[in-house]
Amino acid sequence: MTAVALPLPDVVDDGGDLRIPVTAVVSDAFAVARRNLIGLIRVPTTVVFSTVQPVIFVLMFRYVFGGAIRVPGVRYVDFLMAGIFVQTVTFGAMNTGVGLAMDLQTGLIERFRSLPMARSAVLAGRTIADAVRNLFVIALMVIVGFAVGFRVHTGVPEFAGAILLLLLFGVAFSWIMAYIGLTTGNAEAAQAASFPLMAVFVFASSAFVSTATMPGPLRLYADHQPVTATVNAVRALVLGGPTLDKVLAALAWTVGITVVFAVLSVRRYRQAA
């Protein structure tokens, strides 16, 4: 069937499809991010809960278990906080998946897919909003850390680098969670599916204890997974010592996860029912 000439000349480009302007990719993503941020402000419980949990961890590890944990050459509270920061952004990423699953359930994604907007905008907007939320929650955790005795042993540039690395890692994990949220298509299922995954990444890592204390196979896994890499890099950035290799390893994981899961998620989004 040939396209019939129609009185919509501004819409069609010589028989092909309407082109989404490049600027729209950015402006659409920000329109969606704005909507998600308004949601975070109107329903503050998600921010509150993603803050309360790491605060409890800080208090627990600082005052309950901390006394029994020895990490050679460093005060435990300084060792702990790098782990807490990474834990915070990793668990926070669950909101990305749960939020997307909710949008699928309510039919909002269906509406977005019927609009002449950039395909990537819904997912990109969500991760931008989640990065903003992460920045806020990290700031809060830094304050909590200082209150319980944590100190930065390097300078401001290194500390800023650590925060940037945390934000990027949060984005990477958001893409994993986006994929899970789009695949399950159900908010409760997304939540249930992500928790064990998070636990395996966060607890079997160098976040709370040195991996040197772990039995062989577990240690092998813990030493070669993205959370450990990021925790080690953040730790080096705030405590000093050899830094570059650790930061590069963390960045490699971050970029790799982002690329793989962004591709998978966008593909999933296109097929989303």
């Binding site: 129609l6 919509l8 069609v12 499809d17 309407l18 949601g39 309510t106 905008a121």
Partner: protein
């Protein structure tokens, strides 16, 4: 085919695994008219809408909206259509104004156009008082109105409404019908799906009845009703046994149908006066006294019953009672 058709569908087939949701559907919707796609749950109505709105790819056949191919020119189609689906797809945390602003931005309207259009739609859809409250505080009817407003923000020439009144109370349904009629009088082309027979009767110029992914009848509401004969004579008996005997006798008058549950024989006739005399004479001959007579025009329910051999979806009974 005519360039006056806003929507053209040719031989669309869609399968989900073993299930054939659409089994070769053809449709033509002239500009500025309303097509009612009528069928029970699972008939394939939503699948058809999702293909026409570029959300789903057909396995075979072709479809175009304003001459734009839904598979090859999805973005162009998207900018020419509005869709309000079965769920009110609004952001619960945003106010009506924020929801409309977001959709305006995503459909590439200028901020000033969006603001003006938002004001106009809030007014028209009676949402002015609630405009700055989050949508989660809205009633079902208000959400549907906001959803419809969001579908209209970019003045799409073609509108798709998938079961727009499902789950609404009678008042909400009547309000929405009035709004839809108003839209259509502005020249918008509308494809509407519904399982409410009277909704199609009320809103659509042309009705296509689908079941199991196939078109089983089409025409205007009055044409569909006419396929049954112009008038129905219903004769009720004290017992089902008597109704059964009477049904055999009355077959001489016209096509009969025995409604066992009501011990009633329904006869399709063209000349009701003549038919009544015949009915009385035939019943007298076998000495069967009826309990009551009823002469009425057929409803779309009757059409549906005849076409599919089963009563329409239970929800439509509610709607009939409600409206």
């Amino acid at each position: 085919m005519s360039a006056n058709n806003a929507i053209v569908v040719e031989g669309i087939v869609k399968r989900f695994g073993d299930l054939t949701a659409l089994d070769g559907i053809d449709l033509e919707v002239p500009r500025g008219t309303v097509l009612g796609l009528l069928g029970p749950n699972g008939a394939g109505k939503t699948t058809a809408v999702r293909i026409l709105t570029t959300l789903l790819q057909p396995d075979a056949g072709s479809a175009s909206v304003l001459g734009l191919d839904v598979v090859r020119q999805p973005n162009a189609v998207r900018s020419s259509i509005g869709l309000a689906g079965q769920y009110a797809a609004v952001d619960e945390n945003l106010t009506a104004r924020e929801n409309l602003r977001m959709v305006g931005q995503l459909t590439r309207q200028s901020p000033s156009t969006t603001a003006a259009r938002t004001g106009e739609l809030l007014e028209r859809f009676d949402l002015v008082d609630a405009a700055d409250r989050p949508a989660r505080t809205y009633s079902g009817g208000m959400r549907r109105r906001l959803d419809l407003a969001a579908a209209l923000i970019h003045r799409p020439p073609v509108l798709f409404l998938d079961e727009p009144t499902t789950g609404l109370d009678p008042q909400g349904r009547n309000d929405l019908w009035a709004l839809i009629s108003e839209l259509v009088s502005d020249g918008t082309t509308l494809l509407l799906t519904t399982q409410y027979l009277e909704e199609a009767d009320h809103l659509a110029d042309h009705i296509v009845v689908i079941d199991h992914g196939r078109i089983i009848a089409e025409g205007s509401a009055s044409e569909l009703k006419a396929t049954l004969g112009t008038t129905l004579v219903e004769v009720r008996f004290p017992t089902v046994r008597r109704a059964r005997i009477a049904a055999r006798q009355l077959a001489a008058v016209g096509p009969t149908e025995l409604l066992e549950a009501e011990a009633t024989v329904s006869i399709g006739v063209t000349d009701s006066g003549r038919a009544l005399l015949d009915v009385v004479r035939l019943l007298e001959a076998v000495d069967l006294a009826p309990k009551s007579f009823n002469v009425r025009q057929p409803t779309l329910d009757d059409v549906f019953l005849q076409l599919t051999g089963s009563a329409p979806a239970p929800e439509s009974d509610e709607s009939r009672g409600a409206a």
